[in-house]
C-alpha cells in the first residue's frame, strides 16, 4: 500500500512544470499578437489586440449582457447534451445488448448519422420555429452519435474470455449486464460522453449563429453586423474556455471511473 502511494507521489511533482509547458505556446502567441498590434503591424479592426479584447470582455461582463447570453447558451448546450447524449447512451445500450434491436434500429440510425447537422437546420427551423426547441434539437442531434456509437462499440468489444468466466461463476443475465458488460464498456462510454460534449458546443454555435436572438452565438453574429471584432473574439475565447473547462471536468470523471485501467502514460 505504502509502496504504491510512494510510486504515485513520485509522478506528482512534474504536474506544475507540465502545466507551465502547456502554457508556453498560448502565452507566446498572445505576447506576439499584442506586440504586432501595438506597433500597428496588423489591422486593429480585423485583429484587435488581446488587451482590447480583454477590455471588451470586462465591459460586457459589467453590463451583465455577457452573463445573460452565457446562461442561455449553457442551458441550451446542457439540455441538448442531456437529451441527445442520454438517448445515444440508451439506444447504444439496447442495440449493443440485443442483436434484434441492432437489426431493427442500427441501419436507420446510421442513415441519419450521414446527414450533416447543418443540413437539417433549415428543416428544424421550419418545423419548430427559431425558438428554444429547434436549437436544443440541433444540439441533441450532434450529441447523439458519439455516445451511441461508442456505447455500442464498447459493449461489442467485451472480451469473450470474461464472458466464459461469468458463465463458470454462474452470473445471472442481469449480473452479466451490470457486473460485466457495463463496466467493461465504460472506457468507450466515457470517451463517447466527451466527444458528444464537444459536438454539443459545435451544435450550439451552429444553432445560435444561424437563427437566434440570444446566447453567445447571437452576441457574436450581432457584433459582426456592427464590425465589433473584439466582441467576436470574446465569443471565440469563451467557447474555447468553456469547452476546455467542461472537457477537464469530464476527464476528471474519466480518471475517477477508470482508475483500474493499465494504459500507456507516456
Amino acid at each position: 500500500m505504502s509502496q504504491r502511494t510512494a510510486a504515485a507521489a513520485g509522478r506528482q511533482p512534474g504536474k506544475g512544470s507540465l502545466a507551465a509547458l502547456a502554457a508556453i505556446l498560448p502565452v507566446a502567441a498572445l505576447l506576439l499578437w499584442e506586440a504586432l498590434g501595438h506597433y500597428g503591424m496588423i489591422s486593429e479592426l480585423l485583429f484587435p489586440t488581446p488587451s482590447t479584447i480583454a477590455r471588451a470582455f470586462v465591459s460586457l461582463a459589467q453590463s451583465g449582457d455577457l452573463w445573460i447570453h452565457l446562461r442561455i447558451s449553457s442551458v441550451r448546450a446542457l439540455s441538448g447534451y442531456a437529451l441527445g447524449g442520454g438517448l445515444g447512451l440508451l439506444l447504444g445500450l439496447l442495440v449493443g445488448l440485443f442483436p434484434r434491436t441492432e437489426k431493427l434500429l442500427d441501419p436507420s440510425i446510421q442513415m441519419i448519422r450521414m446527414i450533416p447537422s447543418l443540413a437539417v437546420v433549415p428543416l428544424f427551423i421550419l418545423w419548430f420555429g427559431i425558438g428554444e426547441q429547434s436549437k436544443v434539437l440541433i444540439i441533441a442531434k450532434s450529441a447523439f452519435f458519439p455516445l451511441y456509437i461508442q456505447t455500442f462499440l464498447g459493449i461489442r468489444n467485451v472480451d469473450n474470455k470474461l464472458f466464459e468466466v461469468a458463465k463458470v461463476l454462474g452470473f445471472s443475465r442481469f449480473k452479466q449486464i451490470f457486473r460485466l458488460v457495463l463496466p467493461a464498456a465504460l472506457p468507450h462510454v466515457v470517451l463517447g460522453a466527451r466527444l458528444s460534449f464537444g459536438l454539443s458546443w459545435l451544435g450550439l454555435v451552429v444553432a445560435e449563429l444561424i437563427a437566434s436572438s440570444s446566447g453567445i452565438g447571437y452576441m457574436m453574429s450581432d457584433a459582426r453586423q456592427f464590425a465589433d471584432t473584439p466582441v467576436v473574439f470574446v465569443g471565440i475565447f469563451l467557447f474555447a474556455a468553456l469547452g476546455l473547462l467542461t472537457d477537464s471536468l469530464l476527464r476528471l470523471l474519466e480518471w475517477r471511473l477508470l482508475r483500474w485501467k493499465d494504459s500507456y502514460k507516456g
Binding site: L162, E164, K261
Partner: protein, 258 residues
C-alpha cells in the same frame, strides 16, 4: 476418499471444421473419487483442455455421458470451479471484489469467506489492489480463491501455472497442495509439465493425441509433502515419462504432429 464424484463414460468429441472432422477425444472413461487430485497430461493437441471444458460444462456438444455427483452435466455452474490458464480477473475490480465477483461484500457471510480465502492464498494486504498491480502468481492465486469461494464440488485447473516462471510455479504448486489439503476439494489439473503432474496428483492420466485417448493412468502413492529429489519420486517420474515418450513417438510416427 469416498465414492466416484465424477464419472465419464465413453466420451467422444469431434470438431467440425470447414474441410473435415477432427476427432478430439475418443472413448474416454474416467472416474474421479471425492477428494482426489487427478492431473491430466499429454502433448499439445491431445484434447486435454477440451476434456476439462466438457467437465466444466463450457462445451456440451459431445457424445457419451459425463456425470458429476450422479447428475448429468448440463452447462457451466458454480458447482464446477474453473481456473483458466490466464488469470482472467475483472480488471475494474479490486482483489477482494474479484473474489466476490457477483456477490456483495456487504453480505457478512461473503465477507467472512472472502477474508478466509485471502488468508488461504496468502494475499493479505492486497485486498484493495487492482489486477494490474499484481504479479502473475498473485493474480493466479486470486483466480483460485475466486473459484473456491462458491464451494465447488470439483475444481478444474487448465494449465494454471503454465505462464509462470519456474520459481513461482514451484511456489504455486505448494500453495495449491496446501489448499487441497485444507479444503479437501476434488481437483483435476491439466498440464504439460511431467514434474508438476507427478508432484501434485494421486493419479496421473496420460493422454495421447489424434484422437485423444487415455494412454495410461499412473497411481502416485507417495506421501505428501513430496520431495522432487527423492529416488521414489524420480522412479515414478520416469515411469510417467516413458509412457509420455511412447505417446510422443506415436504422435510423430503418425505424421500428425505438425
Amino acid at each position: 476418499m469416498g465414492s466416484a464424484l465424477l464419472e465419464i463414460t465413453n466420451l467422444d468429441k469431434r470438431f467440425e471444421t470447414a474441410k473435415d472432422t477432427v476427432q478430439a477425444l475418443r472413448g474416454i472413461d474416467l472416474q474421479v473419487r471425492e477428494g482426489e487430485f487427478v492431473t491430466v497430461i499429454g502433448p499439445s493437441g491431445c484434447g486435454k483442455s477440451t476434456l476439462l471444458r466438457i467437465i466444466a460444462g463450457l462445451d456440451t456438444d459431445y457424445s457419451g455421458t459425463v456425470r458429476l455427483g450422479g447428475a448429468e452435466i448440463k452447462g457451466p455452474g458454480i458447482d464446477k470451479g474453473f481456473v483458466f490458464q490466464e488469470h482472467r480477473l475483472f480488471p475494474w475490480l479490486t482483489v477482494e471484489k474479484n473474489i466476490a465477483s457477483d456477490l456483495s461484500l456487504r453480505d457478512k457471510e461473503v465477507r467472512r469467506k472472502v477474508d478466509e480465502l485471502i488468508e488461504l492464498v496468502k494475499l493479505k494486504g492486497f485486498e484493495k489492489a487492482y489486477p494490474r498491480e499484481l504479479s502473475g502468481g498473485m493474480a493466479q492465486r486470486v483466480s483460485i480463491a475466486r473459484a473456491l469461494l462458491r464451494n465447488p464440488k470439483i475444481l478444474l485447473l487448465d494449465e494454471p501455472f503454465g505462464a509462470l516462471d519456474a520459481f513461482t510455479r514451484a511456489h504455486m504448486q505448494d500453495a495449491l497442495l496446501e489448499i487441497w489439503r485444507t479444503n479437501k476439494t476434488t481437483m483435476i489439473l491439466v498440464t504439460h509439465d511431467i514434474d508438476e503432474a507427478v508432484f501434485l496428483a494421486n493419479r496421473v492420466v496420460i493422454l495421447k493425441p489424434r484422437p485423444g485417448e487415455i494412454r495410461a493412468v499412473v497411481n502416485v502413492d507417495l506421501p505428501y509433502p513430496r520431495k522432487k529429489a527423492t529416488s521414489s519420486f524420480q522412479e515414478l517420474r520416469l515411469n510417467v515419462l516413458n509412457q509420455f515418450e511412447k505417446v510422443e513417438e506415436l504422435a510423430l510416427t503418425d505424421g500428425a504432429g505438425i
